[in-house]
């Protein structure tokens, strides 16, 4: 059960990443591409959090109870990092959406195939 959960989480993370990549590579709609990026990020974040997770572990706060079960304490670092990463991902998404708006105004389309002024 625990394995199933672990692998399930990992599997979900990888699935999300692949989904994101698929969206970015295949979808022609700029918004969908941005969504794809977000999904990709989410997958990564999930993976990161999952790594730090220990089944049945405690919060990484030093307390007398925690000290005796030090092995059971989940790793705090990934969690901290994921928070940062989420913020960054949010920033990127925001910029991306702003750009999409700009692109739509400029080109009157959000089909990426039609936005190819710069090439070669």
């Amino acid at each position: 059960m625990q394995d199933f959960l672990t692998y399930g989480i990992y599997g979900t993370a990888i699935f999300l990443m692949l989904l994101g990549v698929y969206a970015v590579l295949v979808k022609r709609n700029l918004i969908k591409i941005v969504i794809g990026l977000s999904i990709l990020d989410s997958g990564l974040h999930l993976l990161f959090v999952a790594i730090g997770f220990i089944s049945g572990g405690t919060a990484p706060i030093f307390s007398p109870m925690a000290i005796e079960s030090a092995n059971k304490m989940v790793d705090p670092v990934p969690q901290a990092l994921v928070l940062t990463a989420i913020v960054i991902g949010f920033g990127v998404t925001a910029v991306a959406l702003a750009l999409v708006i700009r692109l739509y105004r400029h080109h009157n389309t959000i089909n990426i195939d039609e936005i190819k002024n710069l090439k070669w």
Binding site: V21, L25, I112, D113, N117, K119, W120
Partner: protein, 614 residues
């Protein structure tokens, strides 16, 4: 305390800057600075040295040493003599052109480069000066803005290929020898592995031979020589190309001296000979005097390359002698053609005609140069050719001698063509008011002509420094006489007898033919010719100009079908198409780029075993 060598460069660089500033202010001031600067550098070169002057320093961890060897002194002297003359000529030739400041700046820089090359006793400063010379000459080549893309880029491409071949050789020497001093390289070179020796040798040879316009690598030369202002081309063809010869001499005689490289010597000698022959053929079919001279320069450089590549005592002597002579007569010729261009506005040999009576002194200097070029006794050119043939005979290069002798004979064709087309033939009313070239242009031409005449009888004045310089190349006891040529088998040519005899007979016959019927000998215009009674109209010019050597062209047509130019063009076009294709990689599609990332990533994953040796 300033080093005298450093001062020499400083004078040149200062002149460059000052002449730029001077020309920004007024042309006269600029011209004065140019002439004064050029001559003071030259005078300083000849009188200012307490030999042997040396200047050694370290730059970026490389030992560098400046000093004139007796061998490089010859070439430096060549530059120092030719360049002030060309600059003097230039003050008049370039009168009224735009951006003179830039022109003279680059002119001085390329002189600086040449002097620097000859004084560099280490490869690093040699290369630096080499490149300075190259780019400054490039800027002059495209200075007039004609065919900038074609000619300028071609020149730069080939210069770059040459320079980079040189650079590669230099870094390999650095690796093998651990020092960039030329002397060290000579000393340790024999200890290097043979294949590396070979590679270094070939690279250096390619580097140097591009500047001296050897056959498969010559295509830059015709355009570059004919497109730059003639005052510069005099130096370009006369002195700058000799820097390649200088380097070839060093490489062939000092570096590849072990005797295992005879094949390379042979290849280069043959390349030089074929250069000569083909360039001569191309010169023959040109209709523009500049182009003709440009090809002729290539041809003449071919002889010199042959001489250097053969590498016997006499051939080296011949090569250096020819190099000096070529500087004199080709410099003179380019100046003369420049004078024609200046006065008539064209050098198209089918248009300009009958200038002999308008520009007699220009004609005289052209004639003298052409005689020297065609190696007809009793002028200096013959001496060099004679020595070259003798050295080839003595070193048993029989078929080589045939090739270059044929080229030499064919050179008469273009020699005559240039004299005939520009100066002889019927006079054109259009050119009625042409005047002789101004004095600053004439003086250098006359001086060089006198030099050519003197060397015809007394080549010894050149043999002295040459013999001196050849000591540096390892030929210690070079025999020379003031005016007696002796070959390996003891056969000799006494130049004094030759000149005396020719002079005497010429004068006697001249007196005879001038005095005979003197009263009833009269001059008639070139319109008064026997044309089966037909009377040519004033504007009809009957001079035979177009397709002058058509029969000869027909005879040699099989070898002219595919030019080196067209081969390079094909390569260039092919590469361009390929590059254009590569360009489409950047398709402009953002998703595509993202896909590249993924593909690259996947590829790395797939190939990781190969890459990381798992």
């Amino acid at each position: 305390m300033m080093n005298s060598l450093f001062l020499l460069l400083f004078i040149l660089f200062g002149s460059a800057i000052l002449s730029y500033i001077g020309h920004r202010i007024s042309e006269t001031l600029g011209n004065i600075i140019v002439v004064v600067g050029a001559f003071s550098a030259s005078i300083w070169f000849f009188v200012g040295f307490e030999t042997p002057a040396e200047f050694s320093y370290k730059i970026a961890d490389f030992d560098a040493l400046w000093s004139f060897s007796s061998y490089s002194w010859i070439f430096a002297a060549l530059v120092s003599i030719l360049s002030p003359l060309a600059l003097l000529y230039s003050t008049s030739y370039m009168k009224g052109k735009e951006r003179l400041g830039t022109f003279y700046f680059n002119f001085f820089l390329s002189i600086l480069g040449m002097i620097g090359i000859t004084m560099s006793q280490d490869f690093i400063s040699l290369f630096i000066f080499w490149e300075i010379m190259t780019w400054s000459s490039y800027l002059i080549v495209i200075y007039l803005g004609k065919d900038v893309e074609k000619v300028g880029i071609k020149y730069m491409i080939f210069s770059a290929i040459g320079a980079y071949a040189l650079l590669m050789g230099i870094v390999l020497i650095n690796r093998e020898v651990g020092s960039l001093l030329i002397e060290d390289a000579f000393a340790y070179f024999p200890q290097i592995q043979f294949s590396t020796q070979l590679l270094i040798g070939i690279l250096l040879l390619i580097g140097f031979s591009i500047k001296s316009a050897m056959m498969p690598l010559h295509v830059w030369a015709p355009g570059a020589y004919s497109n730059s202002p003639m005052s510069y081309t005099a130096v370009f063809s006369g002195a700058l190309s000799k820097m390649g010869i200088y380097g070839l001499g060093l490489v062939f005689i000092r570096l590849l001296s072990s005797g295992e490289f005879t094949l390379i010597n042979e290849i280069f000698a043959w390349a030089g000979a074929i250069t000569t022959l083909m360039a001569t053929f191309y010169a023959i079919i040109q209709d523009d005097a500049k182009k003709l001279l440009a090809y002729s320069s290539i041809g003449q450089l071919g002889y010199i390359i042959v001489g250097v590549a053969i590498g016997t005592e006499l051939s080296i002597m011949a090569a250096i002698y020819l190099a000096i002579l070529h500087a004199a007569f080709k410099g003179n010729l380019f100046m003369a053609i420049g004078a024609v261009e200046k006065q008539t506005g064209s050098t198209d040999m089918t248009l300009v005609t009958g200038l002999i009576r308008k520009m007699p002194l220009t004609f005289f200097s052209t004639l003298v140069s052409i005689i020297a070029l065609a190696a007809v006794p009793p002028l200096g050119g013959f001496v060099g050719k004679w020595m070259l043939y003798q050295s080839l005979l003595a070193s048993e290069h029989f078929f080589l001698i045939i090739v270059i002798f044929t080229a030499s004979t064919a050179a008469f064709l273009y020699s005559f063509k240039i004299l005939y087309s520009l100066f002889l033939g019927q006079e054109e009313p259009e050119f009625k008011n042409i005047k002789e070239a101004p004095l600053p242009m004439l003086i250098p031409m006359i001086l060089l002509s006198l030099f050519l005449i003197v060397t015809g009888t007394f080549p010894g004045i050149l043999f002295e420094p040459i013999a001196n310089g050849m000591k540096y190349l390892g030929f210690n006891d070079v025999n020379w006489n003031m005016s007696l040529l002796v070959n390996a088998w003891g056969d000799e040519v006494n130049l004094q007898h030759v000149s005396m005899y020719i002079g005497t007979i010429f004068i006697v016959a001249f007196i005879f033919i001038s005095l005979k019927n003197r009263k009833r000998t009269r001059y008639v215009t070139t319109k008064d010719i026997s044309t089966s009674g037909e009377i040519p109209l004033p504007h009809e010019n009957l001079s035979f100009k177009l397709n002058f050597y058509k029969p000869f062209e027909r005879a040699i047509s099989p070898v002219m079908k595919k030019t080196m130019d067209s081969i390079y063009d094909e390569i260039g076009n092919g590469l361009n198409a390929l590059f254009q294709f590569i360009r489409y990689i950047y398709s402009g599609n953002g998703q595509g780029y993202a896909l590249y990332v993924i593909i690259f990533f996947v590829l790395l994953l797939l190939l990781k075993n190969q890459i990381f040796g798992l």
